[in-house]
């Protein structure tokens, strides 16, 4: 194993040990997170959607599970599952759209699991959809869902590229800012998409906030532990960058 492999495996093992220990130590305590207003609005929107009988739309992006961007899809799927659990009492389940076959199947699984949790038998097989396999066919296939299915809140959580501009514009029309219970929350792991989301979404999430979304909706010990681990690792990276820069300036590296 070369030194990069050694450092990489060390980093992963350290993260795993930290996460497992923190999850065990904090299993009974109430997690405290820094405030992100978008998630407070989302909690209210979920409650209102159940009362009104309107739908929530979760767009999971178009990356496949065999690509490096699959972590964003997993974060979106976790969000879908949480939202589906919270809205399981509603007459209208959330609708999920994705641009990859495997993610579409997993979104079916997530919706089905939440349906079984409340022993309902009314699971709608068209609630999780594959809308297109290329960036723009995915966007074009998702737009009618936002416009025609009485959607009150749109959550765009996953891997998007520049086509996200079309989705945020449509989300803005189907759930306009200012209307009660209306939320248009968007996050991506892709940098150009993040710039577009910042300019065009009502509630943009930047950077790693995408991966924290599940914890804000319904926290489990491993979620709060993983957020603390992220903070610890970020400090380690900052120290490593500073140390590297100082050593380089001193001519020792």
């Amino acid at each position: 194993m070369n030194w990069i492999g050694l450092a990489g495996s060390g980093f992963v093992i350290l993260s795993a040990i930290l996460m497992a220990s923190l999850a065990f130590l904090r299993r009974k305590s109430t997690p405290v997170f820094r405030e992100i207003p978008a998630f407070d609005r989302l909690q209210k929107a979920i409650g209102l959607a159940v009362e009104e009988g309107s739908r929530l739309h979760i767009s999971l992006g178009r990356a496949g599970l065999t690509t490096p961007q699959c972590a964003a899809e997993l974060a979106g799927l976790e969000m879908l599952r949480r939202v589906a659990e919270l809205t399981s009492a509603s007459d209208r389940p959330p609708v999920a759209t994705s641009g990859d076959g495997a993610v579409a199947i997993l979104s079916q699984v997530a919706l089905q699991a939440s349906d079984q949790a409340v022993l309902s038998t009314g699971y709608d097989v068209t609630a999780a959809r594959l809308t297109g396999l290329t960036p723009f066919s995915y966007a074009a296939g998702t737009l009618p869902v936002m416009h025609d299915e009485e959607v009150s809140a749109n959550l765009l959580m996953g891997n998007f590229d520049i086509e996200v501009a079309l989705l945020t514009a449509a989300a803005d029309r189907s759930s306009p800012a200012g209307r009660e219970g209306s939320v248009s929350l968007a996050a991506s792991d892709n940098l150009p998409a993040q710039a577009i989301i910042y300019a065009s979404a009502q509630d943009p999430l930047i950077g790693e906030e995408l991966f924290a979304a599940g914890a804000y909706i319904k926290a489990r010990p491993f979620h709060s532990a993983s957020l603390i681990v992220q903070d610890i690792l970020r400090w380690l990276v900052v120290i490593a960058i500073l140390a590297g820069a100082i050593l380089k300036l001193a001519g020792l590296l």
């Binding site: 990859d100 079984q116 068209t126 594959l130 086509e163 079309l166 514009a169 489990r220």
Partner: protein, 216 residues
Amino acid sequence: MKLKGLFSTAIAMATGLIVLVGYFIGAPVLVNLRITILNWVIILAAVAVFIGLFNLLAVHADKIRNKKKGGFFSLMLVLFMLITLLLGLWLRPDHPAMSLIFNAVQLPVETSLMAMLVVTLTYASIRLLHRRYNLFSVIFLATALLILLGSAPLPFIGSVPILSDMIRPFIAQVLAAAGARGILIGVALGALTTGLRVLFGAERPYGGSNPPSGGK
């Protein structure tokens, strides 16, 4: 049902660990096992695409059957999807007719949608201050305008002095690149912890009930 959940969790954790360990440790047994698992995943992903197409068909067939809004477009979609599929199976994907379908239909439609982005993004930028009137939005817009002005030469003048050769490169190559790197490091750390949650079985996108909630 519980047993099924445990079984799928055990398989997911075991395969995830084998692939991860095989990536870092170059032992031939682990590397071969990792490559075999990844090959299976690629085959399964291809099958999933096919299942996804059936899902697409089911959604639009439901729209046509129940005479929902946009039913005519669903009919067109189903019709042309089946025609393209049959042509592809009959002529093979490398046939000139298949290339023609792609180049004459798919490509122009996607290009038109991409062109629409210019309008959408310009409108979004105009509305940004209406949506969120704060210092960061002002900086965002000012930076975007400086980069645009610095990138596009003005008629009769050419490139704008100082802006094109000093300010734009400084913003793009120093400030933006540094910020982008910071965001990417954050995203990478988020991806790492998400992967670990799946490996620990704390997140189960493949089914089965999740572990109990914490305090919140």
